[in-house]
Amino acid sequence: MFNMSLTSEQLEFQAMLCDFVTNEIKSESIKPSRLEPFDKPLMKDLLNQTSELGLRSISLSEEAGGVGADLMTSCIILEELSVGDVDIAVTLSQTALLAGLLFDNWMTKKQHDLYISDFLSDATFHLAYVGHDPDALAGWNYHTTIKEEHIGSPFATKLDENLIINGAVNFVTNAPIASLFIVPVSFEGKMTSLLIPKDIAGLKIYPAIKTTGKEQNRWHHGTMSRVEFTNCYVPIDDCLKNSDNGRDFSTRNIIQRAAINLGVGRVAFETAIEYTKIRRQGGADIIAHQAIGKMIADMAIKLEHARTMIWKAAWVLDNPDAVIDNNLSNLPLHIIASSFTAEVITDVTHLAAECFGAMAVMRDMPLQKYVEDAFIFANSDTNNLSTKLRITEAIVQSDR
């Protein structure tokens, strides 16, 4: 039966996080002294505090010691977190998503037993996926027979009971803080995924990407860096059970990122409403003016539509039978939700900024950051000009 009610657990999580975000995270993340500089290092103390609430293991099953939340619940949580700080939300979303996939599905029992207690007991234990969304650029191949190769993935050769890994991947989210890496490699023409701890010989993790100086790069969220393998010997026993897990990860990652983006739009919206109630121009608080009223309504419409689409897409990924039974359309709902959210959140942040007048472009005020955050989501690894064509591909059921 169609039911949009949240469970009591989901509502509790939401309320608890809302308080935590308001009282602990948001006040720190929008301090002028943090907003103004280009460099915004990850707030590690707050990240650890947030981890201690159990958010690092939200996707991990209860049997394995986690919360056992479904994807929709993760999206609710990540939206709340992102209202406080987008970087903390991105960092935790990576670890939490990977923890569920890794410990519950991808690992052998031996691998699981080796790492699970360290993961659960150490709030600073993070995970990183050293690979790309295999379909990120698929839209560019619309109606062609070109098959995307695993370009840029590290490659492996075999020697005795080891695989020798060489190659590098840039812009790996969580790499500077991760204890354990999941690394898809090209081996004998196929993809194989390996489990690689951070201290293994032949693995070089570069420092977090700089946000200042000549080599600056601000076009990312969270913390990321280059990961390089040079004759890195990995025992064959460290191969994960499934050989090609890129799509498992990327479909869920896309939805989680959309939820985080939604949080960016929501905080911009809420900030704008607060301001329009106290800013007086034209003989009234500006919220009383039709011009402002329409902007707020437009923002609300876009946010509600995005949230509905994200929740639906997340629910479908956990309930694929609904598609098999023809209850729901067999479309890539995660792409639809992500594309739609990326578009409307750039609109929402711009509308919110417009309510602020000149203050919206001042670096010690938060609106300019929200606008920039939304742009990064709209032009990212998971969203680009061609992304929508992946939807069309599904509609015409094109067979490459």
Partner: protein, 405 residues
């Protein structure tokens, strides 16, 4: 109709293109990436441009300037802004207020201030009207609130006026030598009756610069607070008459000040769009995706076509308005044009961002810079209140008359 340019117009355009290519462009991203509010500014660029005539471009020949018209000024702004929008604005802000000196000041004031302005390569001009609680209200004063609008107080003391209060977000604030200041000489009536316009030199006792704003875009361009603590300004610095309303004293929208302001923003927007179009085409012809150049994908062709379509429409609108200004024609076109430029400059720069995608944005900070610059239109000058201002300038009787007949 004749769309060709005169030899003089082309000469200025070429000078501006050379300056943008050789001096501005190489420094543009470098200055943008410097932290802080004041630090991205660089006097050497202003001085070099001033030597060519870009600082004083709008001053008539009888006062020692080049005496260019609005079409020339628009062409120069388009070219300079293609190098860097904020640097272009640092120059053109001076044209805006030198227009106002010429149109609203008496001969003694013109001689006193234009002479200083012409002779000093670091002499910059500004106008302080905005205050923390007075933004849109200065532009569209509400009928039901006579206290609305600027509150900086000016009280007569013999041959002087004593100014107290503060201005905020003031363009060229931290580098200006001379400011027009809108002040209340009668706090009991609205600003259209109790406002007066003053000229205040930076050396005025009791006047100082406050906070320098650190902006997301237009980072070279300076915006600052101006603080007045018993600042003593001679009566000889009153522009027009006391208590006529500072906007009226400045001639409202009929003089070069406000009139030029619309043209200034819209022409500058064309320069950013030209830059974005060139960047998008260069990137699309260089980068391959899915076995062919980006530019060979229909998605990219459609985007680049739209970017150019919007840009050319804006260019035509800008040059039409510039020509109308040169002919002395006054209409709603100026404010309609700047509204249009606000939409176009943001859309074109966002589309350029889409052409570049994540990879292009990561590897070229100029992509993001152009959007941050374009954001300024909707916040410092072309915001919602200006869209309402545009409506107020339309001839609202015409449609009704047609219905009647």
């Amino acid at each position: 109709m004749d769309f060709s340019f005169s030899e003089d117009e082309l000469n200025w355009q070429n000078k501006a293109r050379d300056f943008a290519r050789n001096i501005i462009d190489p420094k543009s991203v470098e200055r943008d990436q410097i932290e802080g509010g004041f630090d991205p500014f660089d006097w050497s660029i202003i001085e070099k441009g001033s030597e060519i005539g870009f600082r004083t471009l709008a001053v008539p020949t009888e006062w020692g300037g080049p005496g260019t018209g609005f079409v020339t000024q628009a062409l120069v702004m388009m070219a300079l802004a293609k190098g860097d929008s904020g640097i272009c604005k640092a120059f053109s802000q001076n044209w805006k207020w030198s227009h106002l000196i010429v149109n609203a000041c008496n001969d003694e004031q013109k001689k006193r201030f234009l002479t200083e302005f012409i002779n000093d390569h670091r002499y910059m001009l500004g106008r302080g009207i905005t205050e923390p609680n007075a933004g849109c209200d200065n532009r569209l004063p509400p009928d039901n609130d006579p206290k609305a609008g600027y509150r900086l107080r000016a009280e007569r003391d013999g041959n002087d006026w004593i100014l107290n209060g503060e201005k905020t977000f003031i363009a060229n604030g931290s580098v200006g030598s001379l400011f027009f200041i809108d002040a209340r000489t009668d706090p009991n009536v609205d600003i259209t009756k109790g406002g007066t316009l003053f000229l205040v030199h930076k050396s005025t006792p009791g006047f100082r610069i406050g906070k320098i704003f650190n902006k997301g875009g237009w980072r070279f361009y300076q915006n600052a607070e101006l603080i007045f603590e018993d600042a003593r300004v001679p009566h000889a610095n009153v522009v027009g008459s006391v208590g006529t309303g500072s906007v009226k004293a400045a001639g409202g929208d009929t003089t070069g000040g406000d009139l030029f302001g619309d043209l200034e923003l819209a022409a500058n927007a064309v320069g950013i769009c030209d830059d974005a179009n060139q960047m998008a085409m260069l990137y699309a012809t260089k980068v391959e995706c899915s076995g062919k150049k980006l530019v060979d994908h229909q998605l990219i062709q459609l985007v680049i076509s739209r970017m150019n379509m919007l840009t050319e429409a804006l260019r035509s609108f800008v040059l039409r308005v510039a020509w109308e200004h040169d002919q002395g024609k006054r209409s709603a076109n100026g404010v309609l044009m700047v509204n249009y430029s606000t939409d176009v400059v943001l859309e074109v720069t966002k589309l350029n961002m889409e052409v570049h995608g994540a990879h292009g944005c990561r590897n070229n900070p100029r992509v993001d810079k152009l959007v941050r610059d374009a954001m300024i239109w909707g916040h410092l000058a072309g915001d919602t209140s200006l869209r309402l201002k545009a409506f107020s300038k339309l001839d609202q009787g015409i449609g009704l008359e047609k219905v009647k007949t």
